[in-house]
Symmetry: C2
Subunit: 210 residues, 2 copies
């Protein structure tokens, strides 16, 4: 019930059934998706399929047997990052207080950015880069963001917030704005996201823990 | 005194002195910068110089006489957008109340996005896309964001906010987060940025207008 992000059903990256990775020599699909995630995150989604194939050690012909388009490879590279991203951001079950569970996400966001070279949220970056909401990757990003918003709304309701959905949307603004501030400044946020989230929680009338 | 954004001194896009645009046939520099701004904003800063030169009707040789690198062309294309962006976002002098002046920016941001195909802030997008704070374009973005933050801080101080600098940083988080929400959802914000900014203004103890 606290797995808002992972619970999101990501759109299937390929509409036509691709052969399962396990049936392919050396896990070509897995290697392609991992190489794509690495290159697209650090250099941008405009990186060409040639570079991804080279990095993965997979032929372009094999790539196009697995993905009908570059767009699908971009989407699949994001889907592959969903579980790790959720694990990075969401609180462990031991954290029980709903306010603490929400603030944990902002603490983790700030803690992760220096090790991420201040590249910001990889999902948000992909949405910015693809330039159209019609891109299959944009759908993955919408779902990932909706998953995190659901987590916030669930915890906000537990914290006694009257309009938990609205607060969740505001917390998403803070989350993505803090990610953007990391990218722009390339410096630690010094608690800016956590503090802003806390102020909105209080303004929304959440109950302080006993 | 209310021109925080325009008052920002943008870094000179070229370290070596380029010939003034007026000395060039047909204003090659101006045409290049405008074409670059158009293509980089709508397609991303990875668009090649060949495409920019074609769009501008300027030879690549001429381009490299004006800009020592693609990076400098990206930075110059952002510098060229600073005045129009400030005019789009900042309140007219007739708006006197500092809270109203701050909220005006968020109202304008929301109003502009549908006509902008929900591409978000062009400065933020460039910072996300260049992937390194060392890029000359990243310096232009930092200055543009610092200019808007200065405007917020100035008005917040006028509104009686004790820690106007902190509130300004938070308002920047809301501004860039609302921009991101526009990109992700590709739908109007329905007042989300304005409402969130207003709540932070109130939480920070700004005085309501008489």
């Amino acid at each position: 019930m606290s797995s808002g992000v992972t619970a999101t059903t990501a759109p299937t990256p390929s509409a036509s059934p691709a052969p399962p990775a396990s049936s392919l020599p050396g896990g070509a699909r897995e290697r392609l998706v991992q190489a794509a995630a690495r290159l697209f995150s650090t250099q941008g989604v405009h990186v060409g399929v040639d570079a991804v194939c080279r990095e993965a050690g997979v032929s372009k012909r094999s790539m196009y047997q697995l993905f009908t388009s570059k767009e699908e490879l971009v989407a699949a590279s994001l889907v592959a990052q969903l579980p790790a991203r959720a694990a990075e951001l969401l609180p462990p079950d031991e954290v029980r207080d709903p306010r603490a569970r929400i603030l944990h996400v902002f603490e983790r966001q700030e803690a992760l950015e220096p090790g991420n070279d201040f590249l910001g949220c990889p999902f948000l970056s992909a949405a910015v880069e693809v330039k159209t909401s019609e891109h299959p990757a944009a759908a993955v990003v919408r779902d990932q963001k909706a998953g995190l918003a659901s987590f916030f709304a669930h915890e906000a309701a537990r914290a006694g917030v009257a309009d938990a959905e609205l607060l969740a949307r505001q917390l998403m603004v803070v989350f993505d704005g803090a990610s953007s501030a990391s990218v722009v400044s390339a410096r630690p946020l010094e608690g800016l996201g956590v503090l802003t989230a806390r102020m909105l929680l209080e303004a929304a009338g959440s109950e302080r823990p006993q």
